[in-house]
């Protein structure tokens, strides 16, 4: 049995003309790290909301199909039960600050207070989570005084500390520098190895290729392609459909046309490119 199971999921916001998600079928096994890519407006964020229960429990509109996580059906659950299993961090970190807390430490404890975790355990969990994402030194700062990248780390940590079975991340590194991005991918990879299932929307192809188990390419609310990162991220189908690709892929593709790239497969990361050009 798949851990996540989406059957014919179709959804239209109250104000959009057509469906934003169309007939999505998707199975993900437990502990798998899946990355979702797609152009602006493809429905990536909406898919995240659907996995996290906000579609259809929070956003009204027309929903059909079935979303199942860990054997439970979203349509038969309430949102407050659903979020205990599925954690969501979304694009804008600023709006994820609760606004009710004065320090990062308190901010991270907010979710644990809500679900009634005892005080001593709460402190231990917050400290562990901060160490995991490397923000221990921010504990006493006001969440509002942080940089965008730091706020994104806090947003991610505030979900990790809740220990969800499924982690849904919508562009969690959009305001981070390359080092921060790499660290976040590393943390997420480690969580997946410990059995947490991860669905992460990202644009940074090189990191996806290095860390994710599978890539799903979404376009106009439909799954255009899915498969192992190297297959999907180097496929011609992506370029034909206006997806961005890694600069190493496009360089090697150009080189291939001129006979300078002799391998069968195109590279996504720098290492693969170097390796290929050496030959």
């Amino acid at each position: 049995m798949a851990f996540i199971n989406l059957q014919n999921v179709t959804y239209k916001y109250p104000l959009t003309k057509g469906p934003v998600l169309q007939n999505i079928n998707l199975q993900v096994r437990e502990g798998e790290f899946v990355s979702v890519i797609g152009p602006n407006g493809a429905g990536k964020s909406t898919l995240c909301y659907a996995l996290a229960g906000f579609v259809p429990h929070f956003f009204k509109g027309e929903f059909s199909g079935e979303i199942e996580v860990d054997g439970k059906q979203s349509s038969k659950s309430t949102l407050d039960e659903w979020v205990l299993n599925v954690g969501l961090a979304f694009q804008n970190p600023f709006n994820q600050i609760s606004g009710a807390k004065y320090t990062v430490f308190e901010e991270l404890a907010f979710g644990l207070e809500n679900i009634g975790v005892p005080r001593d355990e709460m402190k231990v969990r917050v400290e562990e989570a901060m160490a995991l994402t490397g923000i221990s030194d921010l504990a006493d700062r006001s969440p509002y005084s942080l940089s965008g990248g730091q706020q994104q780390r806090v947003a991610l940590t505030s979900i990790l500390v809740m220990r969800p079975r499924l982690l849904v991340l919508d562009e969690p590194t959009s305001q981070m520098d390359p080092i921060g991005t790499r660290e976040v991918f590393g943390v997420v990879r480690r969580m997946a190895e410990q059995g947490m299932t991860v669905v992460m929307v990202e644009h940074k192809m090189e990191w996806i290729a290095e860390f994710a188990d599978r890539v799903i390419a979404l376009k106009e609310g439909q799954i255009l392609m899915e498969g192992r990162p190297n297959e999907v991220l180097t496929s011609d189908l992506l370029t034909e459909n206006g997806f961005g690709v890694s600069r190493y892929t496009s360089t090697a593709r150009e080189a291939k046309k001129r006979g300078l790239w002799r391998k069968d497969h195109l590279p996504v990361t720098l290492d693969e490119a170097v390796e290929g050009f050496k030959k």
Binding site: A89, G99, Y102, F105, E113, N114, S142, Y144
Partner: protein, 259 residues
């Protein structure tokens, strides 16, 4: 940007260790007694025997005096002048200024009201400075205040400076595209209309996202909530609350007593 958005100053003092509700009752008691106790010199005496000693006990005397000098005394002073000049009571004119008379009655009246306002603002200041906002909210929710209600209060307290900062950003952005914010008042007022859109609609989208964010962190969970900070509530706290309540009742009672 503001690093600290609350007035709270962390110190280890008797006042800081009181239960937040006790401090709230103490604040209300000071204000109500200043306004209702039927003796002229009540607010003046309260400043001497309560406000100043409390600021010392709370180890915030320096910060408190600064706030008092910069903010509370000027405000109370302004009120004093307004009432001293414009209160048409009494016969005993002691000072004339064009058509304005100052009588000893209006002077006394204005003095007492200014002192009452001084007590009120000072009591609130001391309360905010010595009480951690999250602790106040946790304590009140624990006592049955709905969580949503507490959230609205505390997040509004935090978000006001944010809104202000954002309005500033939007003004700069629009000024750089030619928005006039420096000529005459009416022209400026008119040209500020474009500000309203981004601020209001931006805020609506933000409200929606923030609702999702706190919901994702179990805000509407039906579990009994816990609290990160341990909130003190000693037998002394309880005694103090009842004693203060009794004082409030006596003061209001004496005020209403037909004399």
């Amino acid at each position: 940007m503001h690093e600290r958005l609350s007035f709270h100053i962390q110190r280890d003092s008797f006042l800081h260790r009181l239960n937040p509700l006790t401090k709230l009752v103490l604040t209300l008691a000071l204000i109500l007694i200043a306004f209702t106790f039927p003796w002229y010199w009540t607010p003046h005496i309260l400043v001497l025997i309560a406000i100043i000693p409390l600021s010392i006990v709370g180890k915030v005397f320096r910060e408190f005096s600064l706030t008092a000098l910069r903010l509370i005394i000027p405000a109370a002073g302004f009120l004093f002048l307004m009432q001293a000049f414009f209160q048409p009571i009494g016969e005993d004119v002691i000072f004339k200024f064009y058509f304005l008379d100052i009588t000893s009655e209006s002077l006394m009246f204005a003095f007492r009201n200014a002192m009452r306002v001084f007590v009120m603002v000072s009591a609130f200041t001391l309360f905010l400075v010595t009480t951690h906002p999250s602790e106040l909210m946790s304590d009140l929710t624990r006592r049955g205040l709905p969580g949503q209600f507490a959230y609205v209060i505390i997040s509004t307290l935090q978000i006001l400076p944010q809104m202000q900062a954002k309005a500033q950003t939007i003004i700069s952005a629009q000024r750089s595209r030619g928005l006039d914010t420096e000529s005459s008042f009416f022209k400026r007022a008119g040209s500020l209309i474009p500000l309203i859109g981004p601020l209001v609609f931006g805020s609506l989208v933000e409200v929606e996202e923030r609702a999702i964010a706190i919901e994702a962190r179990g805000f509407t969970s039906r579990h009994v909530k816990t609290s990160l900070h341990e909130i003190p509530d000693s037998a002394f706290d309880q005694f103090l609350r009842w004693a203060l309540l009794a004082l409030i009742i006596v003061s209001i009672g004496l005020n209403l007593w037909p004399s």
